[in-house]
Amino acid sequence: MSDERGLDRRGFLQCMAWTGTGLVWSVAGGVPGSRALGPGHAQAEEAAGGWSFVQISDTHIGFKGAANPDAMGTFEAALARIKALDPRPAFVIHTGDITHAQKAGAFDTVGEALKGVGAERTFYVPGENDVFADGGTEYLSRFAVGGPGRGWQSFDYRGVHFVGLVNVLDFKAGKLGSLGHEQLEWLERDVAPLAASTPIVVFAHVPLWAVYPQWGWVTDDGAQALAYLRRFGSVTVLNGHIHQIMQKVEGNVTFHTARSTAFPQPAPGVGPGPGPIKVPVEELRGMLGVREVRYAPGRDRLAVVDRSLA
């Protein structure tokens, strides 16, 4: 089978360039995943056939806590950041916790607002806040109709294969988030026909890697999903849930977690537990943000650019 023969030289070089960029970020970035690229740079990339998409996460519309009394206002600030992007992003990926605890009207608020940012469409995966009250009935009826399973999905965009995974539908007492056998089998089948040189972007709410299992910041069977992706030369994993930027490089796989637009959470293990943290009001927007991901075919690179709301 072609996908098991290993990489040819061209594919290998492409993958080296791709993951090499990730390694540079992790070593030299200081702030993980952040990389300041000037606007002229992005426009030159676009002229050469480059394109970009946006990751937004953990908008928590309906949040009323002290950590951010105006989660709607910061969401709107995030929308403004997206609208100001030049070049325009091709699409938006929302990595879950669209709503805060399924507050009435929140799905509509976010859905309508994201239609107005000038991207072709928004792809969603749920967070636990989007499914906890009804087992996902409302979310799935809105976002998963006609899909291959309970919210998971894949699509191709200009040579890059995107996979959206759902790891919040099976929360049980004392257990961690998980993907489940049905979804894992689907994933294995989904990526089986792809050449190993195909760039892969995986997005899911809860981190697929073990950020901090003591706080549930891990997917129980995430390692199995990653095993299906190991043969690919470039895998970028985008997660939310922990409301802060973290990055890890493991072989050809680069993991990124994103900021929330609603409230920050503590660094892993700092304080009594996860949850919203209240920071001085002048610091809040600096801890919230959105992410632009740029792809430039000429240089076979994926650049992750995090933008705070400050």
Binding site: K64, G65, A66, A67, H100, A101, Q102, E128, N129, F132, A133, F171, K172, A173, G174, K175, L176, Q214, W215, G216, G271, P272, G273, P274, G275, P276, K278
Partner: protein, 114 residues
Amino acid sequence: MRALLAMTALLLAGAAVAPARIPAQTETARVEIRDQGFDAPSVTVKLGTTVTWVNHDDDTHTVTSTVDAFRSPGLDPDETFSHTFTKPGTYEYYCTLHPLMTGKVVVTPERSGS
């Protein structure tokens, strides 16, 4: 509305009750939710006791029986949920938003108030 009902139930049931933790074997019991946990992971109560959970966190939590014996809505900061236990047994529960948050209520056969 549910929070209001729960609060009313708390006031009716707990009129003569100190605001802090109630010792086991009383007619009402209270479990505080804070720092992403239930502060009394196990409480033992008599049959007919009303247990009230109070969310002191800035986040939303639920109190959800693992066998569907009771299920709170999402409890926002300072909201409460109450359930009256009318059958003896051990009731395990968790927060469906944060499943590592777990607790249990042990209901003894002796009737509350007896």
